[in-house]
């Protein structure tokens, strides 16, 4: 499997992984906001998952990741970037943070 082009470097710490995840989350938010009826839900959902990521970062920011954990975060961020449909983006606003958290050994 070739590396995903234009992806950021593989994160080596929890803090770096959370930074990458936040960026990918914002991309999903921007896309999901196109569904006008769900604008508020998109904001609420993003806030809830940002809060969860913030907690993990506060607890473990400097913890090192195994290469496969960093690779998983890089890949799932790239997967989020492939989403083009706003409705799927809303679904991924919930799915994406869960996959990131699982990759770094955290529960939702």
């Amino acid at each position: 499997m070739p590396p995903v082009e234009s992806s950021p470097a593989i994160p080596e710490t929890i803090g770096a992984a959370i930074d990458d995840a936040r960026d990918a989350l914002e991309t999903l938010v921007t896309l999901g906001e196109e569904v006008e009826d769900e604008w508020q839900y998109v904001q609420d959902l993003a806030d809830a998952w940002r809060d969860r990521l913030d907690v993990v970062e506060a607890d473990r920011s400097n913890d090192a990741l195994l290469p496969e954990q960093g690779g998983a975060v890089q890949r799932v961020c790239a997967e989020a970037g492939l989403i083009e449909d706003p409705h799927r983006a809303i679904d991924w606003l919930s799915t994406f943070p869960q996959v990131v958290l699982a990759a770094i050994g955290e529960r939702p």
Binding site: M1, E38, Q40, Y41, D44, L45, A48, W49, R52, L66, E68, Q69, G71, A72, R75, V76, E79, L82, I83, E84, D85, R88, I90, D91, W92, L93, S94, T95, Q98, V99, A102, A103, G105, R107, P108
Partner: protein, 224 residues
């Protein structure tokens, strides 16, 4: 309180074909024994863009670590990719049917002594003097004293006022008849996301049990 088959309309007839697809039963059987993370894998793949298995193996290192030999995770990945490779509308119908089939399987585990007819799909619940709801419940438990009306959703976004009202109405109508009816909403999504969706709902929800991706196995707990 009594249960009744829903009159099949055109949508239901088409959907019945999806429900009967062997892929639905295969995925549900795998997910019934799955861990939270394996269920999350299914959710991600069935709603993802990538359809190559290797990408997903990389995204879930704890399931697919070299030499781990996690055959169930591999089988879930295979079934989930089979769903993802369908067109958008069809994959959406498959996802819904899989959550319903999974719910039925888990509820049967929680009621091992119950006959097959005690747990049903697509049933309406009728109460004397109350106009029947148009939409059937996805799954029902039809056991005296342990009855339940269960609706199933793929994601937290599926939680709506209509769904909450219908479940709560059934529960309260049953109570009016001095019957106990559990109202259960099963969502194949994180409880965190469900909580976000529920927080802005004004429809009654206190009497409805919310079962999320992390707590699906509660459905298989022995009925109390």
């Amino acid at each position: 309180m009594r249960f009744q088959d829903a009159a099949p309309d055109a949508r239901a007839i088409v959907y019945a074909g999806i429900q009967a697809d062997p892929l639905v039963a295969r995925a549900a059987a795998l997910l019934a024994d799955a861990t939270y993370e394996e269920r999350l894998l299914a959710r991600a793949v069935m709603n993802g863009e990538s359809t190559d298995a290797e990408s997903w193996r990389i995204m879930f290192p704890s399931l697919f670590a070299a030499g781990s030999g996690n055959e169930r995770a591999a089988a879930i990945l295979d079934a989930s990719l089979a769903v993802a490779e369908r067109g958008e509308q069809v994959r959406s119908q498959f996802r819904g049917a899989i959550v319903e089939a999974l719910t039925e399987l888990l509820l049967r585990r929680g009621n091992p002594a119950a006959p097959p007819t005690a747990i049903r799909r697509e049933r309406r619940i009728l109460f004397d003097g109350v106009r029947a709801e148009i939409h059937p419940y996805d799954v029902t438990i039809e056991i005296d004293g342990a009855a339940a009306a269960v609706d199933c959703k793929w994601g937290a976004r599926g939680i709506s006022a209509d769904v909450l009202h219908q479940l709560d109405d059934a529960r309260t109508h049953a109570a009016d008849d001095d019957e106990r009816l559990r109202a259960v909403l099963v969502i194949f999504d994180s409880l965190r996301s469900c909580g976000v969706r529920l927080e802005r709902q004004t429809a009654p929800q206190a009497g409805t049990e919310i079962v999320g991706l992390e707590t699906l196995d509660d459905l298989a707990a022995p009925a109390s």
